[in-house]
Symmetry: C2
Subunit: 245 residues, 2 copies
C-alpha cells in the first residue's frame, strides 16, 4: 500500500463545494472520476476540509491510499489531463502510510476578497464580494486583532457546529489590507468551525457600518450567541489559501 | 441634442466581441438594450473600436447622442442597474457634440496576459493564455522594442485589413514584464490593425521558441508578408487597457 499527498487548486464557482453530493457537481466527484480513469479503481481519499459551494481554493490537500504503482509525477500529469480546467494539481508526493490530510493538518489560512468600489468589477463577479461603501481598512485591521488568540468561537460559527465537542480554536493572525480597490482579509488558525471565516468577515463589515462598536468583538466572544453577530459574508469572496502540515 | 462619453469595462468571456451580430450575444447588444430601457429610444452610438470574441476591456469608450435630458450621473447609475454583471459603467460625462469615440481617439493601450507555469491556473482559464514552457521575459522585452516606432504593419495583421489604405501605425511603447508566474505584455500605439496585438504576441512567443531570431523583427517588417510571422495568440489573454483622447 502507498499513500499520496496531492495538492490542488480549484475555481469554486464551478462547483457545489468539495464533498460529493447526489444532485450537484462537486470537486470530489470530478477528482474521483479522474482517479478512476487513471487507476481503474476508486481509492479511499481524505481531504483537508470541506468547502462550501462557490468557495475557492488556492491550495487544497488530499491524501489517497492505493496499491497502484504509478509514479507520483506521472499521477500529477495524468490528473491534470483528466480533470476539468477548473481544477489543477499543483503537487503530488508519496507520504508515510499513516499520513492523513485532515488529522495531520496543523493549521490553515483563508483569504477573503472584497471589491470596494461604488462600481462593480465585471471580472470579480464570482471572485470577490462587491461592497459599495468605503471600507476603512485601518479600522477593520485594528478590530480584527481581537479575533487573535485561543477563544470559544460559538459566537462566530453556524448552528450546525454547536454539536462539536470543542468550540475552541486558536487564531494565529488576522490582517485587513487594501490593494487599490481590493480589500484582502487574511486569517490563519489551527482550525475553523463551520462558516467561521465568513461570519468573522460579516462581523467586521458590521463594525464598518457602525452596527457593532470597533471594540465590540471581546463582548461578542463572551455572549457565545451566534445571533448577535454579523451576517455570513457570501462564499464567492472566500479562498482557502494555505494548508499547513 | 447632447453627446455623452461613456467609459465601460467588460469581461469578454461572456461575449462575442463588441459589435452587434445576428446570432451571438455581444456587448453592443446588451448595451443598446439597457439604453432602450432607460431612454425609451435607440440612440446612435459610436465605439472606440471593435473587439474580438473573448477579448476583455479594462476600459472601453462609447460616444452617444440623444435628445434625452437625463443627467450624466443618473445615466451611469441606470446603466449599471440594467446591464448584465459582466459589464460595468465606470464613467459617464457630457462632451461637445462633435466628439466621436473612434475618430477622436489619440491612441490605445492593450495588455496581453500569459500564465507561465507547467500547471494551468484554474482562475485564469478565460483570462490569460496558458504557456507551459519557460518564458525569458528579458529576452522578449528586448525583442519587443523593435516594434516601437512608425512602421508598415502589413506583416503583423490579418489579411482582412490589407484593404486598408494606410498600414502605417506608430507603436509608442512595448514592454514585457513578469509578476511571479504571470507575464504581462503591454503595448501602446496610435492605432491598431486587425489582430495586430495578438500577432505581435505570437511573434514574440516564436522568438521564445527559437523559431524566429531575437533580432528578427526588423526583417519581418521589411517582408510585408503576414505568412512569415507568429501565430495569432488566442483572444482570452487580451485586454483593451486604456483609451487615450
Amino acid at each position: 500500500m502507498r499513500n499520496f499527498l496531492i495538492t490542488i487548486t480549484f475555481d469554486g464557482s464551478h462547483f457545489h463545494g468539495w464533498q460529493i453530493q447526489n444532485n450537484a457537481i462537486t470537486v470530489q466527484e470530478v477528482f474521483q472520476t479522474a482517479l478512476y480513469k487513471i487507476l481503474g479503481e476508486q481509492p479511499d481519499i481524505k481531504a483537508c476540509s470541506r468547502t462550501d459551494s462557490g468557495v475557492h481554493a488556492n491550495m487544497f490537500c488530499i491524501s489517497m491510499k492505493t496499491e497502484h504503482r504509478i509514479p507520483a509525477e506521472r499521477l500529477k500529469g495524468a490528473l491534470n489531463n483528466f480533470l476539468p480546467l477548473s481544477v489543477a494539481v499543483l503537487d503530488c508526493v508519496e507520504v508515510p502510510l499513516e499520513f492523513h490530510a485532515r488529522y495531520d493538518c496543523k493549521g490553515k489560512r483563508y483569504v477573503y476578497k472584497i471589491w470596494n468600489s461604488s462600481v462593480r468589477n465585471p471580472f470579480l463577479e464570482k471572485y470577490a464580494l462587491h461592497y459599495r461603501w468605503n471600507i476603512d481598512e485601518g479600522l477593520l485591521d485594528k478590530a480584527s486583532k481581537d479575533f487573535i488568540g485561543k477563544h470559544d468561537f460559538t459566537s462566530f460559527c453556524t448552528f450546525d457546529n454547536r454539536k462539536a465537542d470543542n468550540m475552541e480554536r486558536t487564531v494565529k493572525s488576522f490582517t485587513v489590507e487594501r490593494n487599490e480597490n481590493l480589500i484582502l482579509m487574511s486569517v490563519e488558525a489551527d482550525g475553523f468551525l463551520y462558516n467561521m471565516v465568513r461570519i468573522m468577515v460579516g462581523t467586521l463589515l458590521k463594525i464598518q457600518q457602525g452596527k457593532i462598536p470597533a471594540d465590540g468583538i471581546p463582548k461578542l466572544f463572551e455572549q457565545r450567541n451566534r445571533n448577535h453577530q454579523g451576517v455570513t459574508a457570501p462564499p464567492q469572496g472566500l479562498y482557502l489559501d494555505k494548508v499547513f502540515y
